[in-house]
């Protein structure tokens, strides 16, 4: 009986598999998901090997220390180090890679070399929220404000206001963010003492409990002020200029002229006809910039002593803390790819020409 049922089910199951494969290959969302996963895999692999090509690693350093200071033999020192870091030093790079990937699949990012035994995932979970918070708030501010200013510039193009704003925007969008950060630190913090930099250090005040209270929210914004200001200043110019040029193009579209001929209220034309269409392309850029800012957060968080992943990354590079480095790269990569992924959907959702055939 079992044999007959098997014989019967095989063809239909094969048919099913083919059917599903065909459907899946046509599925837009699935294709994107697979692409995203492939990208993540490639980046993980590259990071793993590149990180290991860096000169000197902490284990070698530790081994040397043991030999120099405590008179260990080389073999003894290596055994000691291996035991401490919990890794097999004899294993080939390839074996290490397979091991790493296997652990990753189980959600295990390894443990830090430097803070011996601390799981990388735990460290990232501690630092990442602050980066997401400061970068997210900055993007929100600079995106909305930049769009608004860009539209004003386009509507008042040729005016003094437009020239002033365009100049400022071009300057700010061409200065690297760490320079702006340093300037804020030096002038607003040290020279003119507008920001009490020592008090503003860290992601929140000592003794502050993370909770949904006004005091806590105020406190985290207070501590994030300087990084946010830096991110906003260095990204807003790009939004302004992009929005200005998009708005000018949109203003030349027939449908805007026709909207005027239809006697629509100016406010309606500005928001739903000009603004909405001019901002469409910016949403794709928004996703890309999320990655850029998270990636570029390291120096800013270092300058302002802000406890985000950027800071974590810098420290881990300093100490050749591979697992942490890899973990942070992994998280940044996933963040960027996820953001791009989201952007495509947001764009499709905002633009019916893509959504509706």
């Amino acid at each position: 009986m079992t044999t007959t049922s098997l014989a019967q089910s095989t063809p239909s199951r094969r048919f099913d598999v083919l059917y599903w494969l065909r459907r899946l290959s046509r599925n837009f969302i699935l294709r994107r998901v697979l692409m995203a996963l492939a990208k993540i895999y490639v980046v993980i692999t590259l990071t793993f090997f590149i990180v290991r090509l860096m000169p000197t690693n902490p284990i070698e350093a530790y081994v040397n220390e043991l030999i120099d200071q405590y008179g260990f033999t080389y073999q003894e020192a290596r055994d000691q180090a291996a035991a401490l870091y919990g890794i097999d030093l004899e294993a080939s790079l390839w074996t290490q890679y397979l091991e790493y990937m296997k652990n990753l699949l189980h959600g295990d990012l390894g443990t830090s070399y430097r803070s011996k035994g601390t799981p990388v995932a735990k460290m990232i979970a501690k630092f990442l929220p602050w980066t997401l918070f400061s970068v997210g708030v900055s993007l929100l501010i600079s995106f909305t404000l930049g769009m608004l200013l860009g539209m004003i510039m386009a509507y008042r193009r040729g005016s003094v206001l437009d020239h002033v704003l365009t100049t400022i925007a071009s300057i700010f969008s061409s200065i690297p963010n760490y320079l702006v950060g340093m300037m804020i630190l030096v002038f607003l913090g040290v020279q003119w003492k507008i920001f009490p930099i020592t008090k503003m250090r860290g992601a929140m005040s000592p003794g502050m409990k993370p909770e949904l209270s006004w005091a806590f929210i105020k406190d985290i914004f207070y501590h994030a002020t300087m990084p946010i200001l830096t991110y906003v200043l260095t990204t807003i110019g790009g939004w302004m200029l992009a929005m200005k040029s998009n708005t000018i193009n949109t203003l030349g579209e027939d449908y805007v002229t026709v909207a005027k001929a239809r006697g629509l209220k100016e406010s309606r034309i500005i928001t739903s006809y000009v603004g909405r269409n001019a901002s469409l392309p910016l949403f794709t850029q928004l996703a890309i910039s999320i990655g850029f800012i998270v990636g570029g957060s390291a120096l800013i968080e270092f300058i302002f002593v802000y406890q985000g992943v950027g800071q974590l990354l810098l420290n881990s590079i300093n100490y050749r803390d591979y697992p942490v480095m890899q973990g942070v790269f992994l998280v940044i990569t996933i963040a960027v790819i996820l953001a791009n992924f989201l952007a495509e959907f947001v764009y499709g959702w905002l633009d019916p020409r893509i959504r509706v055939q």
Partner: protein
């Protein structure tokens, strides 16, 4: 006022009266004098067609009637008097609010090449609502009812079109949607700028049929701008021929097609299949319309005119009435009348080879 008095019908009724309108564009090379002293009267319910080659200022004239010229343009002079019931307003004197209410509710302009006339991210229904609400009409059911009727009138499926995004409709459909939308608020005045250009022949035909049908069923005055003379012949009551920013002949449709008195009109008519449909060869007038930055002295048509004399090169002929409902701006219109425009036709054919 004086230049337009000739135009005014005896009962003094008009929907629109344009007096001595001058419009220029500020271009890099200089001032483009696109409309140079145009005067005409549009009677209630009539269709007045503006014909002429491309670049003669027809679109500029149309845009200036609803003050939607680009920012580089300037109305240097003139009056645009619009009349509703007993009230007469000068469009050029309206403030922003009055102007906004005038547009579409009083005067709907359907644009040349309306392929891109709709906001790509909003459904047609949303854009219909936008239009109605901006003019204080808020009853959704009423709007929907009226729009459905209008869509049926222009041979569109109301349900489907209202739900659609612009990109889901073909060019011809979009053109008809815009025409229907133009009639939503029952404007007394409609301007159609090249309603059939950029459409394929079949679609052109259906749009023309739709226009004729609408014109029969509804009561509004229509300004039809077209370089397509057969379209004008089918729809117009009167025809105004425009050349180099000026009106050179204004006459009823019959006279325009069978007894044109301006050499330019003769050339235009001769260049297309005639009204009755007997196919004639398509011969265009040799040469091209002048550069409007520095139009020729005297009669602007003289470089292309076989009737031209010394007088034509120095003195500008005024637009004068020469018969009932027939005005022409040519020093030698009588000669044209005598030879039936023969010299112009021969000239065109000779140059065409």
């Amino acid at each position: 006022m004086k230049s337009a008095t000739e135009n005014v019908p005896s009962d003094g009724q008009f929907t629109l009266k344009v007096e001595d309108l001058w419009v220029t564009y500020l271009a890099e090379r200089g001032k483009v004098k696109a409309v140079r002293g145009v005067s005409f009267t549009l009677r209630p319910g009539e269709t007045l067609a503006f014909i002429g080659e491309s670049g003669c200022g027809k679109t500029t004239l149309g845009l200036s009637l609803i003050r939607l010229l680009p920012s580089t343009a300037e109305v240097e002079k003139g009056h645009i008097l619009y009349r509703r019931d007993t009230e007469v307003m000068d469009v050029l004197q309206m403030n922003d609010r009055e102007l906004r209410q005038f547009r579409w509710k009083e005067c709907a302009m359907i644009f040349q090449g309306a392929q891109n006339a709709f906001n790509p991210v909003l459904r047609i229904w949303a854009q219909v609502l936008d239009t109605a609400r901006s003019h204080g009409v808020t009853n959704k059911k009423e709007i929907r009812q009226r729009m459905e009727d209008l869509f049926r009138l222009v041979q569109l499926e109301p349900e489907r079109v209202l739900r659609a995004y612009p990109h889901q409709l073909s060019g011809g459909m979009r053109q008809r949607v815009l025409i229907a939308l133009g009639l939503l608020l029952k404007p007394p005045l409609v301007i159609l700028d090249e309603p059939t250009t950029a459409l394929d022949i079949l679609t052109q035909r259906s749009v023309i049929d739709v226009l004729r049908d609408i014109k029969e069923k509804m009561d509004f005055s229509l300004i039809l701008i077209s370089h397509d003379l057969s379209l004008a012949a089918e729809l117009a009551d009167r025809v105004a021929t425009m050349y180099a920013g000026k009106l050179v002949e204004v006459a009823n449709v019959w006279d325009t097609y069978y007894h044109p008195l301006h050499p330019y009109t003769v050339g235009l008519i001769h260049a297309v299949p005639t009204l009755a449909g007997e196919r004639e060869e398509l011969i265009s007038i040799p040469g091209s319309p002048p550069d409007l930055i520095d139009p020729p002295k005297g009669c602007a048509f003289h470089p292309r005119c076989p009737y031209a004399t010394e007088k034509c090169r120095t003195e500008e002929p005024p637009l004068i009435p020469v018969a009932q409902d027939h005005e022409v701006a040519c020093w030698h219109w009588q000669q044209v009348q005598e030879d039936g425009g023969q010299r112009m036709m021969v000239y065109s054919e000779a140059k065409a080879g």
